[in-house]
Symmetry: C2
Amino acid sequence: MARTVLTPREQDFPQWYQDVIAKAELAENGPVRGTMVIRPWGYAIWERMQAAMDARIKAAGARNAYFPLFIPESYLNREADHVEGFSPELAVVTHAGGKQLEEPIIVRPTSETMIGEFMAKWISSHRDLPLLLNQWANVVRWELRSRIFLRTTEFLWQEGHTAHTSEAEARAYARRILLDAYADFLRIELAIPVVPGRKTRRERFAGAVNTMTVEGMMGDGKALQLGTSHEFGQNFAQAFDITFTDAEQQSRLAWTTSWGSSTRMLGGMIMCHGDDDGLRLPPRVAPVQAMITVIKDGDGAPAAVAAELVDGLSAAGVRVELDDRTDLPYGRRAVDHELKGIPVRVEIGPRDLVDGQVTLVRRALGIKTPCPVADVVSATVRALADDHDQLLTEAERFRDDRTADVTTVGDAIEAARSGWARIPWRLLGETGEDELAAQGVTVRCLVHPDGRVPDTDDAAAEPDLVAIAARAY
Amino acid sequence: MARTVLTPREQDFPQWYQDVIAKAELAENGPVRGTMVIRPWGYAIWERMQAAMDARIKAAGARNAYFPLFIPESYLNREADHVEGFSPELAVVTHAGGKQLEEPIIVRPTSETMIGEFMAKWISSHRDLPLLLNQWANVVRWELRSRIFLRTTEFLWQEGHTAHTSEAEARAYARRILLDAYADFLRIELAIPVVPGRKTRRERFAGAVNTMTVEGMMGDGKALQLGTSHEFGQNFAQAFDITFTDAEQQSRLAWTTSWGSSTRMLGGMIMCHGDDDGLRLPPRVAPVQAMITVIKDGDGAPAAVAAELVDGLSAAGVRVELDDRTDLPYGRRAVDHELKGIPVRVEIGPRDLVDGQVTLVRRALGIKTPCPVADVVSATVRALADDHDQLLTEAERFRDDRTADVTTVGDAIEAARSGWARIPWRLLGETGEDELAAQGVTVRCLVHPDGRVPDTDDAAAEPDLVAIAARAY
């Protein structure tokens, strides 16, 4: 029905993505290069995502805090690798309060250095560890080629930073966040079947000894990194002097981790589940799960039934809204609800009501079925649960169909035209990785065939490692 | 018990305030001038405040969105009064992506101009109105004399911006937020009995035609502005070209409002309820409402009772935590819980347990009573409800005791040494207001004797107006 509104995905996927964002009123570009305005519909989805992610982070024992936006330039010079990774992306405040500043100020691209500084101050004894901190904040990385949600000059994220007494504990915690927070959230709330894995040395975060990732396949077969979790070993603790006295009164360096996920996940959700009619919202994060739509209200009966259904659905815990704008053409309203991805639409018109029926439209499956008024609440509750599973299954099937097992660089490049290549890491190696990169194909992560996250990126130590290679956002 | 830890309030109120913030681990100064780090305990309180305020804002029909941190310098020149109000406070980004920028970028001190720009874009018909937007964000205003929570270079806030078809509707909405969101939140969640009123012309927000405020009295008798709501008339609509076509197809200018509340409310909560032992948290925003404290665990009986009480209180909806660090001196732990303001402490030691009793300590009232184990849950639930009322009543009594009705500028200045002066506005007038200001006393707001918020600041039109004059933060 909405097919004329959006550029079809097959024709031009990036244009389709932009169209969806604009027509579903999710976001638009801000006036300063690469910035974005997140509109109410987009932000309401983000709020639900944020709440669900926050609950998982708190369940993992981390506590929220807030650190300043402004970082003294000198902080960034403490960890050489780290600053090198960021310097071309920095925004710098040189004037404030009507004067030139003595020391320029960096607008945070991440808070590693700031939080490292305070960890050093707050930690003295092993009793202060683990210190598990998280913050929800905006960060700024200057982008020349921005794309809303995927790569913007300013974005919203959470960044966790933790310090531990041992390497084993830090390692376990970084994995716990990767699996129990990120992978679980993406699967259970966003219906995105991500692959958790380990980055190769080439793709590692600046300053980290290990970067882990969760990768999702988008509707064009490309990969999107949806969250990362890093172990820093003792590098950051060394640079920021994060030490503790152990039970034997010895001073020791802490082991630190950091991990982040961002508004980029909104982009992933759009590109994983969207279709040519617009967004398809995973029901658990849909701000409106059911839209009760009065098509035409002849004798007042549709409006009465609509009010009754709004009450019934609300009482059943469904987030429901009423669209009774019968002065607007029905088709236009339906197109709008489809574009916005509202999971269930209940259409009420005088004609069907004669038989005591309404029409239930399920966005995820694109099916319309008549439904007795008395069954609408239970049918909607069932549909919402089922649609989540359907979206997840569909995405899994799509990913598996578009993933090829290969053994040569040439075949990997070929497979990456439409999807992902799986290639044994011992066959590919860092040389093969460079050859792929020259063709715009990257190793998204290393995994074990059974899905476990590798302990190393050393094919000698873990000979069964598989590299997942793809083009990526 | 904690009296040795903090500077007494009578001795040095500002120092006491700083001590509480440090010792209760609420926040500390950031490395860049005037910035702050909100530590986990402070942030957990803020999160509860934010949730309760957000619910009220949504109940008033506003929808959350997110606008960029960075504003092109040119935007600020559109509304001359507005930019003049802010220019000495601006932080300016001049370099980004490794280059000098062609146009400098302002780090938002507020988003009026940014949101005005987008409102103009999104509004075309009267059907698009009212447009009710809110955002939770960080803003930056360069401060030379900062004080944590009260006046910081960067702070967290919500800013609402709305556009309406008529002056009456805009006026009603600005009042609705002032009363149903701000005043209600401060009273019902923070137990702060604020006075809602109208600012005089002198104290009005730059560019506004009317600024309304909610003012609270702090423990030293000074006033703190805890939230403001502004009507802009058509000034902003004019500057940003926010127009709509009405039902008769005529193009008309919209009427806009804006309103904000911030982390400053945390400062207000501390200064309204804190005592010489530290913070006293209003129970509804306390991250931990009851601390089950094992004093000493001889035979394991205290630990068993503690576990049982944690379960029982959780089941009753109380936010409860267990302190079983019996290897630390009990006194030190108690001092810490008092400093942090945890409303109820349940002390469990082997001695009392012989009689089947524990000790209930109520922070707000400073009383300790023995309590049978079986009654702890119900006694705690009652105490939490009661403590809120007690804090509110105490603050009301304090405010009323420290408020004097006067008729001369001299008496007002005298009254403002220890509290607030109420003086008829027709007697004071703008000349008297200037005389007060010369002595560091400002008119916090104008009110009607019955508490209503005035429609004007014109003593001829509303002869019974009363000015509340005080020293303020």
